[in-house]
């Protein structure tokens, strides 16, 4: 009896799952596996555009070993990504936290302000990117756009998450702190901060993922003629662009028609991201205990 019910339950579960899984396998699973296959092949500038998949050569782990051992720029791009994340994420957290504290106050028009601050996160229409290009005149741009545009966007996102977490803190806790004579900082340091800690961790992980994988923003910028990945500096005997974050380097490799190498790079980035996620999940779990 129990096993029949189990079998039934399993069947029903798979029925609910089927549409999603089918769409996944066809439009994501297959392309991912195909990219994996591509990553073991070599495509060059001479590869026939009309027959890209037929005209490439088996390269084994060549793309991977080349990236890992011979490509200074790949490591450099990872390093720049890390720097970028180190700039971005604290800014996002601090600004988001500040906005949340501000809008926790019972101010007139509070709902309007909440909506307004969150707007850039929602209005990620391609035109908004265009506007930034115009206003900001990013001649080398990538970094500035990443910082301002995504910065604004993610600060709004952080604000919403903080606000939600804070809404779980009963007003009486703050009142008690007030009675104890705690000032503004003490109050937030001892009451608010411990409660929003998981959110900070969540923002760190999504921020890192975003930094590794910021495809949309990078595409919007890289497609313009201005973005070169500069300004350029000398580092360890190589001339490298300061704003060449990994996503940008990936885009450039892809754009040059080096699909195999770009695919290999994607999977290396995947491994990095995966490691971070697992590490972070551990951290979160230990936090909860």
């Amino acid at each position: 009896m129990a096993s029949v019910r189990n079998r039934n339950e399993t069947l029903i579960a798979y029925l609910f799952l089927a549409p999603f899984l089918i769409a996944f396998v066809v439009f994501l699973g297959y392309p991912i596996l195909y990219s994996l296959y591509l990553s073991f092949h070599e495509t060059t500038v001479f590869t026939d555009w009309f027959n890209i998949f037929g005209d490439m050569r088996w390269a084994g782990f060549g793309n991977y070993s080349d990236l890992l051992f011979n490509d200074f720029e790949f490591w450099w791009s990872l390093y720049r990504t890390l720097i970028y994340a180190l700039m971005m994420i604290p800014a996002q957290i601090v600004i988001g936290f500040f906005l949340a504290v501000l809008l926790r106050e019972k101010l007139p028009g509070r709902d309007f302000f909440r909506g307004a601050y969150f707007m850039p996160h929602v209005l990620d229409v391609f035109v908004v990117g265009t506007i930034w290009v115009l206003i900001y005149s990013p001649n080398y741009g990538l970094l500035d756009v990443l910082l301002t545009r995504i910065g604004l966007k993610s600060a709004g996102f952080g604000m919403i998450l903080f606000l939600a977490a804070m809404s779980n803190i009963p007003e009486s806790v703050y009142e008690a702190a007030d009675i104890d004579g705690a000032n503004f900082w003490q109050k937030h340091r001892h009451v608010t901060f411990p409660l929003v800690k998981p959110i900070i961790l969540f923002l760190i992980i999504t921020g890192l993922m975003g930094a590794l994988n910021a495809f949309t923003e990078i595409y919007a910028m890289a497609a313009t003629k201005y973005a070169q990945g500069g300004p350029f500096i000398d580092a360890f005997g190589h001339t490298v662009g300061v704003t060449k974050v990994s996503g940008f380097y990936l885009y450039k490799t892809f754009e040059q028609g080096d699909y195999g190498r770009a695919a290999a790079m994607s999977f290396l980035l995947l491994i990095v991201a995966f490691t971070i996620s697992v590490f972070n999940a551990r951290l979160l779990r230990s936090e909860k205990v």
């Binding site: 500038v45 001479f46 590869t47 026939d48 555009w49 009309f50 027959n51 890209i52 900001y136 005149s137 990013p138 001649n139 080398y140 741009g141 500035d144 497609a223 313009t224 003629k225 201005y226 070169q228 754009e255 028609g257």
Partner: protein, 360 residues
Amino acid sequence: MRNRFLTAVLIATLLAAGVSCSKRPSIDASGVRTVTIWETYNAQEHEVFESFARDYERELTARTGEKVRLKVERVPYEGLLPKLKYAAITGTAPDVCRVDNAWVLTLAYGKAVVPLDTLPTFGTTLDEEAAKYVPAAIATNIIEVPDASGVWSRHLFGLPDQTNCAALFWNKGLFAASAEQLRREGLDPERAPATWDEFVRYSKVLTIPEKKQFGFGMFATLWWVMPFLNSFGARFTRTDENGKVACGFSDPEAIEAFKFIVSLYRDHRVEAGAWQTGSINPEQGFLNGKYAMILTGPWNLKRFEGIDFGGVARAVGSGRYVLERRRVEHGRLQVVDERGYRARFPQMVHVARHAVAMGA
């Protein structure tokens, strides 16, 4: 090295015969052959282009009785190259596409375009054909490519439909406003500087920090460095002692040119820093009377309507950069040269027509 001379080029793309052919029918039931052309012109140019297309259709039918329909489709310039790439993968590429000449190399290496001189209808030799064009404009379309057995040979992959070049634009109004100071320095406020030394002297007078006005503003990308390199006599590439092509940027001439550019910003302080992020870009600075001189091209003539500027006319007439120290002959300046266009049009389509015939 990316040697972008900013000529726009018409390229005939081949629907690689035997591998994949266009999924759109190229000849319909009534025997009308369709040639698809992608272009990125602006609205006015598009109208001119359409009129050429219609003329050609009529002309061809009158002359040979053959029926052809030229389907002119407008494509956004942004993302055109990836789009061409994807279209090639699925065999939906156009027969003719107008691209920046910097892309011709990529397209030729990727076998996305047909070598025009190998077509039976070409009817002339490569060098004879090339002699009809401005040398710099046609040179970027003649590319050495390897064949299946690895033998390299030169072929023609595109035809230039427009050429243009950068010139120094100078704002007459700002020159006139500083006329007295310019005269005091022994400079004529009614003409543009003719040498780089004069250029620096003019720029110094025209740089007025209180008004946030600068003598000069420029982008710092390779393309905008070229006028300097050219006039300093630098070469972009040269053949080294081993017979290999090498970048010429470490030659003394090029170094001199680069040093001069840097000095404009750092030593003379006449360049506005327009290449920096958050600054006013050269075109916008010129438009708003913030930069007295900029390097730009004929595509901005319309945008600068209503400003009293000069320098362009002279560049058109002489076919040289306004600023020259060592005279370098370099391409003509044309906005839309209707006559040249009209003359080249039949040839271009003729070639394309053949490409379709092979694909189908």
